[in-house]
């Protein structure tokens, strides 16, 4: 067996290109998959750490009047026997610019079975606890936060590094279970660093311990707070889908290489069979060969994947932070099962890709072995099976589409991915039979043109070897077009939406306690044409009502809920009303704005889709001590917001729900410079530098966040396309020697080498052109699936379908360009081969 195995492997000594192609396929497939999984694993680790923290999993209390809590509130409640613990949260800047979350706690009153207590067993030690709660205090932080202070593990414990503002942190103590960029310390130490005086951020209590909120306070139950893991689930599912696509494309290369390697070893297999090696033993040896190559490729891929993830993680972390407020470490933290999982997926994929080849090898008859005809007949059978498989996949896609059409909007993320997957699979499977039919049809029509006829007939002969690479190209191109059209459309919509929403020239974020004073000052200023104050408050959507039947007077059908929403107040002024985007209204824009001013509400698209609400429905909103039902007059787009939002007029929100002030939009009078007002404001109120922002910088920031959001998407689609190009190149290189053997007789019959070169390029360019043209409708279908189903289910908003002729042209050009590039190297080798070398290879095919 040992000898037979070495004999089988000896094929790669003569054909190192095929070995390289196999390993390349395995490597890239595994690298992209492992890279994305590394990012997902690292992010999930961060979520797990965040969720194990005391800021989640506990009920929260805040003042019902929207004013900040103070230490007196805490003391009053404790004296009354209410088991609450104070929390102080704030932001500080590290010397390298990293924004750190500071959490001040009182470990003596913090619920004993909170996650914090369980993550820090040493805290049981009285001495440690004493160090934590008494000056000079301690700072607990995760090792992956040390980089912000330029420290490493050896010199971290006990260090008192400075912050950007010069203050020094209490002595550091490492706590690996904490989330990244988070500092935990005693509440007194945090108050000193943050300069917050007696103010508290909130009070927390063990989940379910309080039956109701104490008087004057609002209770937020732990189970109504969305965790970062829940919020970002869709984002990670999208990434996994992209990685799966890359894995599939990579496995196309593998299957192409395996098929070629087996086809060229048919004679060798026959010889081994003749020498007494059984058919099943041969299949076993081929499987062993697969396993050896698979392990090699997977190990290289997983290591490269970790490297790729390390490069992409900062962008992903920034995206998750800006989109969902989820803190994700920029450092990779990979659990042991990541490595095993990567190996398992790669080997599983390899087995899947190789099973067809092994099956065919096991079924080949000994007598027929080695004859190209046997293999070709096999390909014709394969074409029929592909057409059949494609039909089944198309039916599955249709069935899912039919099912999705009957679901409420926003449902069926997995089904949406399944539908897109089946559409891709059907198209990929139909491609080879379609190309074969097209070539046969053209060949019959161009019989009189010898060279064209030959070129088409020759392409038919090449098709078995090129079809997998073409399938990979089709999948990669259409996915690329689909995703880039979606991103491009989203970009257009998002920029328009930003222009419509950001109508003020300046945005001011004043401290809550000075809001009224600043507002009054601004009202007096001649530079100010209009003020657009906003307010915000968390609330619970406790019921929705939908009027059924023709009679509008009939009572609405109510549904009880317990959904956290944000109440947001805007000022419907002359500048804001005409431009604020509305997707749907009950009785037109003017009536909607009039109703909003009178106390009714608008809701964002996310909430409308999630709860199946339309204009005319009612929403019952509750804050502690207050419960109000309002009619929905309009639905507005709210891109980038993961939460449901209810819009009210600011004065109404302040009056009805006591929402605290948030920001003030300042519309400047004609010809007034924003710098002058900014200077006057700073001189009068000594605002911090980030309290006042002009419209352009807000837009710039939003656009930057948008671009970063899609960095990984773009990177993955581009890499997938590169993989497909590599598949094509590898396929062509692997058969370059045989191609020369086919071309040489033609050259000998009097076709100039230059023309042969052009014909070779035209053959592949034409095939790629057809593939590229097929990728266009497929890409558009994918875009439609993404914007109509997947985005709605994943993010809660619907986008208009945009088709960019430039992107379409780029897709077709890329297809042809990739094919020509891949064909160029073998063609140049043909061009540069000496006549003797060319003729020396003239051995029977």
């Amino acid at each position: 067996m040992h000898t037979a195995f070495l004999t089988l492997l000896s094929h790669y000594r003569r054909h190192p290109g095929q070995l390289a192609m196999l390993l390349l396929g395995l490597w890239v497939a595994s690298a992209l998959w492992s890279g994305v999984e590394a990012i997902n694993a690292s992010a999930r680790d961060s979520y797990a750490r965040a969720e194990s923290l005391f800021t989640s999993g506990l009920d929260g209390l805040q003042r019902a009047d929207g004013q900040p809590l103070t230490r007196d509130d805490f003391l009053r409640l404790r004296r009354a026997g209410v088991p609450v613990s104070p929390l102080l949260e704030g932001r500080l800047e590290a010397p390298d610019g990293t924004r750190l979350t500071v959490i001040g706690i009182d470990p003596l009153t913090l619920p004993g079975d909170s996650a914090f207590a369980s993550t820090d067993n040493q805290a049981d030690n009285r001495a440690t606890l004493a160090n934590f709660v008494t000056p000079p205090w301690q700072t607990r932080l995760s090792p992956d936060t040390l980089g912000a202070f330029g420290l490493d593990l050896r010199n971290a414990t006990g260090a008192t590094p400075p912050l950007a503002d010069g203050q020094r942190l209490p002595a550091l103590s490492l706590s690996p279970a904490l989330p990244p960029d988070t500092l935990v310390m005693d509440i007194a130490a945090a108050a000193e660093l943050l300069g917050s005086g007696d103010t508290l951020t909130r009070l927390v209590a063990k989940a379910g311990q309080l039956d109701e909120a104490p008087p004057g306070l609002a209770l937020t139950r732990a189970d109504t707070q969305l965790s970062p893991g829940q919020l970002t689930e869709s984002f990670h599912l999208n990434l996994t889908a992209m990685a799966m696509l890359a894995l599939v494309v990579g496995l196309f290369i593998v299957q192409a290489a395996l098929g070629l390697a087996l086809e060229q070893r048919l004679a060798l297999l026959r010889t081994l069979r003749a020498l007494g090696v059984s058919g099943w033993a041969l299949v076993g040896l081929l499987a062993l060969e697969l396993l050896v190559l698979g392990v090699l490729g997977a190990l290289a891929g997983i290591a490269s994947g970790a490297w790729l993830a390390q490069r992409l993680l900062p962008d992903v972390a920034a995206t998750l932070g800006s989109l969902y407020g989820a803190g994700v470490s920029s450092d990779l933290r990979l659990p042991w099962h990541y490595w095993l999982g990567g190996l398992g997926v790669t080997l599983g994929g390899l087995l899947l890709a190789g099973s067809g080849v092994l099956w065919r090898a096991a079924r080949l008859s000994v007598l027929g072995l080695g004859q190209a005809q046997t293999w070709r007949t096999g390909f014709h059978r394969q074409l029929r099976l592909m057409a059949l498989g494609g039909g089944v996949a198309a039916l599955a896609a249709l069935a899912l589409w039919g099912w999705l059409a009957r679901q409420p909007a926003g449902e069926g993320l997995m089904a949406g991915f399944g539908m897109v997957g089946f559409v891709l699979l059907a198209s990929a499977l139909w491609l080879p039979p379609l190309l074969a039919a097209l070539l046969a049809w053209l060949s019959a029509r161009l019989r009189r043109y010898a060279l064209a006829h030959w070129a088409l007939a020759d392409l038919q002969l090449q098709l078995p070897r090129l079809s997998l690479a073409m399938m990979a190209l089709l999948v990669a191109l259409s996915a690329n077009l689909g995703v880039s059209s979606m991103v491009g459309g989203f970009r257009l919509t998002f920029l328009d939406w930003l222009d419509q929403r950001l109508v003020a020239d300046l945005y001011l974020q004043p401290p809550v306690e000075r809001t009224e004073e600043i507002h009054a000052w601004l009202t007096e200023r001649p530079e100010v044409a209009e003020l657009l104050p906003t307010r915000r408050r968390e609330a619970t959507l406790v019921a929705t009502g939908v009027t059924t039947g023709a009679a509008a007077e009939s009572p609405p059908e109510e549904t009880s809920l317990d959904r956290p929403v944000v109440l947001y107040g805007i000022t419907p002024g002359v500048r804001l009303m005409p431009s604020w985007p509305l997707l749907d209204t009950l009785e037109g824009r003017d009536a909607a704005w009039a109703g909003l001013a009178a106390g009714e509400v608008f809701i964002n698209e996310q909430l409308a889709i999630a709860e199946g609400l339309a204009p005319g429905a009612t929403v019952t909103l509750a804050v502690p001590g207050q419960r109000e039902t309002r009619r929905v007059l309009a639905i507005y787009p709210d891109y980038g917001n993961p939460r449901g939002e209810v819009l009210m007029a600011t004065p109404r929100l302040a009056k009805t729900f006591h929402a605290p002030p948030r920001s003030v939009g300042i519309v400047l009078a004609e010809g007034v410079s924003s710098e002058a007002l900014g200077r006057a404001l700073n001189a009068r109120f000594a605002q911090g530098s980030d309290a006042l922002q002009d419209q352009r910088s807000v837009k710039r920031l939003a656009t930057t966040i948008f671009e970063r959001t899609f960095t990984i998407t773009r990177a993955l689609t581009a890499l997938t396309l590169m993989v497909a190009a590599l598949a094509l190149l590898a396929s062509l290189l692997a058969q370059a020697r045989e191609r020369r053997r086919h071309l040489a007789p033609l050259w000998a019959l009097g076709v100039p080498r230059r023309r042969l070169l052009w014909v070779s390029l035209a053959q592949l360019g034409g095939l790629a052109l057809v593939t590229g043209l097929l990728a266009v409708p497929l890409g558009i279908a994918i875009t439609a699936g993404l914007v109509g189903v997947i985005n709605v289910a994943a993010f809660g908003w619907r986008l208009p379908l945009h088709i960019f002729p430039g992107e379409v042209a780029l897709t077709v050009t890329t297809a042809v360009g990739v094919a020509l590039l891949a064909a160029l190297l073998p063609a140049l080798r043909l061009w540069r081969a000496s006549p003797r070398a060319l003729l020396a290879e003239e051995t029977p095919a």
Partner: protein
């Protein structure tokens, strides 16, 4: 028809240049048939490649129908091959993706001088009419060689170059194929340069030369001490 004047050809090898043709002179008149014999590695195939313009001499001149091949560019040599030459290889080199009928017409079509009647006659005379729609790999060795001969003769070339055309065939089939080849050559009136190491194959041809050490044996210069 074909003239070799003091032709030299060597190939680089790790041990230094290997001289294959060393001042060879050869002349073939229109319609004449010549058998070229020699040991393996004596340069017979190289001579054929030079005659077809597939390769160029290092020194000396190869003239085809009065034109010096060395002075022609690659496209012009290809045109000459397409229009004036027929090539028959020992290993057939049929195009596997084309049917028997399309293979037979391939060169004539490339040369733009397809004659449907002549193609049909050739197919019939070669005994391939019934197999016209098959593919080369579905033919026997003898049938494949007959098809290769038909392809070479379909454009009615002025010169047919044949490299061991019966080398891969059994004795009976070889005899049949050779007879057919000579019949067709006679009927088309083309010249024939046939490379073989079989005296039996060489016998029916007008002339026979032996290639040895890069020169023809009859060459008077080769006989000099």
């Amino acid at each position: 028809m074909l003239d070799f004047c003091d032709v030299h050809k060597a190939y680089p090898t790790p041990q230094g240049p290997l001289r294959v043709l060393d001042g060879l002179d050869l002349r073939l008149a229109p319609g004449e048939s010549l058998a070229l014999m020699g040991e393996s590695g004596s340069g017979k195939s190289t001579l054929l490649h030079l005659a077809a313009g597939l390769d160029l001499a290092d020194h000396g001149e190869v003239l085809l129908a009065g034109e010096s091949l060395a002075r022609l560019g690659e496209p012009a040599r290809a045109r000459l091959r397409r229009e004036s030459l027929g090539l028959v290889f020992q290993q057939f080199h049929l195009v596997p993706s084309l049917t028997v009928a399309d293979n037979l017409r391939l060169q004539a079509r490339l040369a733009g001088r397809e004659d449907a009647e002549w193609s049909a006659e050739l197919l019939a005379r070669l005994g391939l009419s019934a197999l016209a729609r098959r593919y080369p790999e579905q033919l026997s060795g003898g049938q494949q060689q007959r098809l290769a001969i038909g392809r070479a003769l379909a454009p009615r070339p002025a010169l047919l170059l044949a490299d061991e055309p019966t080398g891969n065939l059994d004795e009976t089939t070889a005899g049949e194929v050779l007879e057919l080849l000579l019949d067709l050559v006679r009927d088309t009136g083309c010249a024939l340069l046939l490379v073989t190491h079989s005296a039996q194959v060489a016998a029916p041809l007008d002339r026979c030369e032996r290639l040895s050490h890069g020169r023809l044996d009859h060459d008077p210069r080769a006989a000099r001490p």
